[in-house]
C-alpha cells in the first residue's frame, strides 16, 4: 500500500525538486536527469574511445612497429569502434532525445519513465563488461568492430563470449529507449501539435527509433548465432557444416547499414533545428525533410551489401546494391539543399552552435560524396578496406554525427543550465576541432586511394608523410575536446543568465519555458505558441 500512498501524495504537489544524494541518479524517473546521465556517460565513452584512437594514431605516426604490439593494435581498433558507435554516439543522441523531446512536444516526461531509467543504467554495466575484456586472458576482442566470422568465432579470444553478452545488453537498452521515444512522440504531444507540426528533431528521432527497433534484434540474432557456433558446435558460419561465413556479413550489415543511419538521422534533426534559428528564417521545405528522412530509412534496408562488393556476391546483387545505394544520395541531397535554402537570404549570425552546424553541412556532404564513390561497385574493388573507407566514415561520423551532437549541446546548454556559453571559448573549441578533423581525415583519402590497407599497424614507406600529418591532426583534435569539457563544466557552473528564449531566432515550445527548465515541465498540456498554431 505504501507505494500507492506516496505516489498519490506526491501528486498533490507536483512541482517538487529533485531528490537528494546518489539516490536521485540511481532511482530517478525524470527525463532531464536521465538525459543528463546519458550525455555524461557518452562524453566519458568519447574520451575513452578517443584515447584508444590516439594510441592507434601514435603507432601509425611512423612506419614500422614502435609503440604497441600488433595484437594490441587490433584490440584498440576493435574497442575504439565499438565504444564510439555504441557508447559515444548512440547514447548521446538518446540523451538529447530524453532532454528535448518531452519539452518540444509539451509532455510532462517520457511515456514510460521507469523503463527509461532502466535503458540508461544497463549501459554502464554493459560497457564495464566490454572494457573489462581488455584485462582478460587472451585479451580483448581483436576482430574489428564489424566482428566478421570466422575471426570472431573460430579464431576469437575467449573474451568474445563477454563481448556477445555486452552487445545483448546494449541491444536491450537501445530497444527499450527507442520504444520509449516512439510512445512519447506518438502519444504525448500537446493538443494541437499535429504530426506535421512536430519539430524535425522529433521526426528524425521517431524514424530513428523505428530503425533501432527493427535492426537491434537482428544484431542480437547474429551474435546469438556466433555464440552457438563458438560454444555449441553449430555451423552457421562454417562451410564445413553447410553454413557460410558470408552469411555472417549479410546479417551483420542488414543491421549495420541502418545502424549508420541511426547515427546520422538524429543529427539531421539537430541541424534542422539550429540552422533556422541562426538564419532567422523558417526551415525551408519542412514536409520534404520529413519525407526525405522516411525514404532514407526505408532505403537503408535495401543497401546493406554495398559493404560486401568484394566478398563474392552474384553479379545481379552487385548491380542491385550499387544502384540502390546511389539512390540514397537523392533524399540526402534534398536535405542538404533545404539547409542551404534555409540560409539563403537569411539574417545569419555565427554563434558556436551555428558554426558547428555549418561545418556539419559542408563536411558531411564531403563524406556523402566519398560514400557515393564507394557505392560504385567496380571502383569499390579498389577502395574497399583501404584508408579511403576510413576517411569516408570518419567524415560522416566525426564532423557529421559528433559535430551535430556538439552543436546540439551548445544550442541547448542555456536551456539546461540557465547560463549562456562563453562564446570565445566556444569558438576556440570549434576552430581547433574543425582544423583538427580535416588535418586528420582529409589525407586519409589520398593514402587510401594510393592503396594503404586499413586496420594494419604498419605501412609501406610511401604513405609515411600523410600518416604523420593525420596523426598530428588527431592529437590536435583530441586535445581540443578538453576545451569542450571545460566549456560544458563552465556553463553548468555559471555565466551570463540565459533568457527563456536563449537565442533570438529560436522557435518552439522548449523556448517558452524558463531557462534553466524547471525539474518538472508541462504537468498539464501547454498552449502552443503563436509560431506553431
Amino acid at each position: 500500500m505504501s507505494t500507492l500512498d506516496t505516489t498519490l501524495h506526491a501528486d498533490a504537489h507536483e512541482h517538487h525538486g529533485p531528490a537528494k544524494g546518489m539516490g536521485r541518479w540511481l532511482f530517478t524517473t525524470n527525463h532531464k536527469d536521465i538525459g543528463s546521465m546519458y550525455l555524461w556517460f557518452s562524453l566519458l565513452m568519447f574520451f575513452v574511445g578517443g584515447c584508444m584512437a590516439l594510441m592507434i594514431r601514435a603507432e601509425l605516426f611512423q612506419p614500422g612497429l614502435q609503440l604497441i604490439e600488433p595484437g594490441f593494435f587490433n584490440q584498440m581498433t576493435t574497442m575504439h569502434g565499438l565504444i564510439m558507435v555504441f557508447g559515444a554516439v548512440m547514447p548521446a543522441f538518446v540523451g538529447l532525445a530524453n532532454w528535448m523531446v518531452p519539452m518540444m512536444i509539451g509532455a510532462p516526461d517520457m511515456a514510460l519513465p521507469r523503463m527509461n531509467n532502466w535503458s540508461f543504467w544497463i549501459l554502464p554495466f554493459a560497457f564495464a563488461m566490454l572494457i573489462s575484456t581488455l584485462f582478460m586472458e587472451g585479451g580483448a576482442p581483436n576482430f574489428g568492430w564489424t566482428f566478421y566470422a570466422p575471426l570472431s568465432t573460430t579464431y576469437a579470444p575467449p573474451s568474445v563470449t563477454y563481448f556477445i553478452f555486452a552487445i545483448h545488453m546494449m541491444g536491450i537498452s537501445s530497444i527499450m529507449g527507442a520504444i520509449n521515444i516512439i510512445a512519447t512522440i506518438l502519444n504525448m504531444r500537446a493538443p494541437g501539435m499535429t504530426m506535421m507540426k512536430l519539430p524535425l528533431f522529433c521526426w528524425t528521432w521517431l524514424i530513428t527509433a523505428f530503425l533501432l527497433i527493427a535492426v537491434m534484434p537482428v544484431l542480437a540474432g547474429v551474435v546469438t548465432m556466433m555464440l552457438m557456433d563458438i560454444h555449441f558446435g553449430t555451423s552457421f558460419f562454417d562451410a564445413g557444416g553447410g553454413g557460410d561465413p558470408v552469411l555472417f556479413q549479410h546479417v551483420f550489415w542488414f543491421f549495420g547499414h541502418p545502424e549508420v543511419y541511426i547515427m546520422i538521422l538524429p543529427a539531421f534533426g539537430i541541424i534542422s533545428q539550429i540552422i533556422p534559428t541562426f538564419a532567422r528564417k523558417r526551415l525551408f521545405g519542412y514536409a520534404s525533410m520529413v519525407y526525405a528522412t522516411a525514404s532514407i530509412a526505408v532505403l537503408s534496408f535495401l543497401v546493406w551489401a554495398h559493404h560486401m562488393f568484394t566478398v563474392g556476391i552474384p553479379l545481379a546483387g552487385e548491380l542491385f546494391f550499387m544502384y540502390a545505394t546511389m539512390l540514397i544520395a537523392v533524399p540526402t541531397g534534398v536535405k542538404v539543399f533545404n539547409w542551404v535554402a534555409t540560409m539563403f537570404r537569411g539574417s545569419m549570425t555565427f554563434e558556436t552552435p551555428m558554426l558547428f552546424a555549418l561545418a556539419f553541412v559542408v563536411l558531411f556532404t564531403i563524406g556523402g560524396f566519398s560514400g557515393l564513390m564507394l557505392a560504385i561497385a567496380p571502383v569499390d574493388f579498389q577502395y574497399h578496406d583501404t584508408y579511403f573507407v576510413v576517411a569516408h566514415f570518419h567524415y560522416v561520423l566525426v564532423p557529421g554525427a559528433i559535430f551535430s551532437i556538439m552543436a546540439g549541446v551548445y544550442y541547448w546548454l542555456p536551456k539546461w543550465t540557465g547560463h549562456m556559453l562563453d562564446e570565445r571559448m566556444g569558438k576556440l573549441h570549434f576552430w581547433l576541432s574543425f582544423i583538427g578533423v580535416n588535418i586528420t581525415f582529409f589525407p586519409m583519402h589520398f593514402i587510401g586511394l594510393a592503396g594503404m590497407p586499413r586496420r594494419i599497424p604498419d605501412y609501406a614507406l610511401q604513405f609515411a608523410d600523410f600518416n604523420m600529418v593525420a596523426s598530428i591532426g588527431a592529437f590536435l583534435f583530441g586535445l581540443s575536446q578538453l576545451i569542450f569539457l571545460w566549456n560544458v563544466i563552465a556553463c553548468v557552473r555559471g555565466g551570463r543568465k540565459a533568457e527563456a528564449r536563449a537565442w533570438e531566432g529560436a522557435e518552439g515550445l522548449e523556448w517558452e519555458i524558463p531557462s534553466p527548465a524547471p525539474y518538472h515541465t508541462f504537468a498539464t498540456p501547454p498552449q502552443l505558441p503563436e509560431s506553431l498554431r
Binding site: 548465432m225 553447410g242 504537468a523
Partner: protein, 294 residues
C-alpha cells in the same frame, strides 16, 4: 485522476536493481560458457548466473506488482493505457525482427549457400573446397562430415509437428474466446477458456520436448549435425522459449482473473499477453511451413 495529467511515477528502485541482475546474468552466463568450453566445470559462472536469474525473477514480480497496484489504484489514464499499447506493440515488432534474422539465415543457406557449395549457380566455384559434396536439403551429408556428422533422418512434419500446429492454432481460438467472455464480464467462462489455452500450451511444450529427445537420441539430429540442425534448433528452440514464457504469462493472467483483476473495460494486461500469444502462434505457422514441410 483527471485525464489531462499524465501519471509520472516517483523514483523507483526496480530499474537499477534490474540492471545489476542483468549484469549478473550476462557475466555469469559468459563465465559459465567459457568454463564449459575450456572443460573446467561451472563453478563461479553458474553461481553468478543463478543469482542473477533469481534476482531478476524477484524484481519482475516486484516491478510488475507495482504496476498492477498502481493500475488498480486508478492512477492510469486512457493516455497512459495507450503508452502501454504502443510499448507492447513495438516490443512484439522487435521480436518479429529477432526471428526474421534466423528465418533469413535459413533462407540464405537453403537457397544460396548450400547450392553454391555443391557447385551450382553463380558462386558454384566454391565447390573447389569439397569436390565430392552434393547439395541437398535437408542437408543429410555435410561437406566436412567428420566435424559435422549429418543427421540420419529428419523429423516428419505430419506427426508431432502437425499435431502441434493444431494445438497452437486451437489455443489462439480459445484465447480469443476467453477475451470475448471477458468483454461480456462472463468471468467463469474466461477462466475456463484461459485454462484450456494454458493446457494446450503445456501440451505443446511437452510434445516439443519429446521431439527434441527423439531428434537427439534416434535421428542424430543435433546442434552439431551441420547447418540443418543449427537452423532447426535455433528456430524451434527460440520459439519454444517464447511459448514457455507465453504460457507462464497466461498462468499469471489466469491467477489475476481468479483474484478478481480485470473487467470488461480495463484489461490491458490480458490483451498484451494475448497479442504475445498470437504472435508466437504466427511464428509457429512460419516454422511449420519453412522448417518442417517445405
Amino acid at each position: 485522476m483527471s485525464s489531462s495529467s499524465y501519471y509520472v511515477p516517483e523514483q523507483s528502485r526496480w530499474p537499477i536493481l534490474a540492471s545489476v541482475a542483468l549484469f549478473l546474468l550476462a557475466y555469469g552466463a559468459g563465465t559459465l560458457l567459457n568454463a564449459l568450453s575450456a572443460e573446467q566445470g561451472g563453478g563461479l559462472g553458474l553461481v553468478l548466473l543463478l543469482a542473477g536469474a533469481l534476482m531478476m525473477g524477484l524484481i519482475l514480480v516486484g516491478w510488475f506488482g507495482n504496476v498492477i497496484h498502481e493500475s488498480r489504484g486508478g492512477l492510469y489514464s486512457a493516455q497512459m493505457d495507450r503508452s502501454f499499447r504502443w510499448g507492447m506493440s513495438w516490443f512484439i515488432f522487435s521480436e518479429v525482427m529477432f526471428f526474421a534474422a534466423f528465418f533469413g539465415a535459413l533462407f540464405y543457406v537453403r537457397v544460396l549457400a548450400v547450392p553454391w557449395l555443391g557447385g551450382e549457380g553463380d558462386k558454384g566455384v566454391s565447390q573447389m573446397l569439397w569436390p565430392d559434396f552434393v547439395a541437398q536439403w535437408p542437408l543429410m551429408i555435410t561437406p566436412d562430415a567428420e566435424r559435422f556428422p549429418g543427421p540420419a533422418a529428419v523429423i516428419s512434419p505430419w506427426h508431432i509437428p502437425l499435431l502441434n500446429t493444431c494445438l497452437l492454432v486451437t489455443s489462439s481460438f480459445t484465447l480469443t474466446l476467453a477475451h470475448k467472455a471477458l468483454l461480456r464480464d462472463a468471468r467463469m467462462q474466461v477462466r475456463r477458456w484461459l485454462f484450456v489455452t494454458i493446457v494446450l500450451g503445456v501440451v505443446f511444450i511437452g510434445f516439443q520436448a519429446y521431439e527434441y529427445a527423439e531428434a537427439y537420441h534416434e535421428l542424430g539430429l543435433t546442434l552439431q549435425a551441420g547447418v540443418y540442425g543449427a537452423t532447426f534448433f535455433i528456430l524451434t528452440g527460440f520459439h519454444g522459449l517464447h511459448v514457455t514464457l507465453g504460457t507462464l504469462m497466461l498462468m499469471i493472467i489466469l491467477g489475476r482473473i481468479v483474484v478478481g483483476h480485470f473487467d470488461s473495460r480495463q484489461h490491458f494486461g490480458f490483451e498484451a499477453v494475448a497479442w504475445y500469444w498470437h504472435f508466437v502462434d504466427v511464428v509457429w505457422i512460419g516454422l511449420f511451413l519453412f522448417v518442417y514441410v517445405l
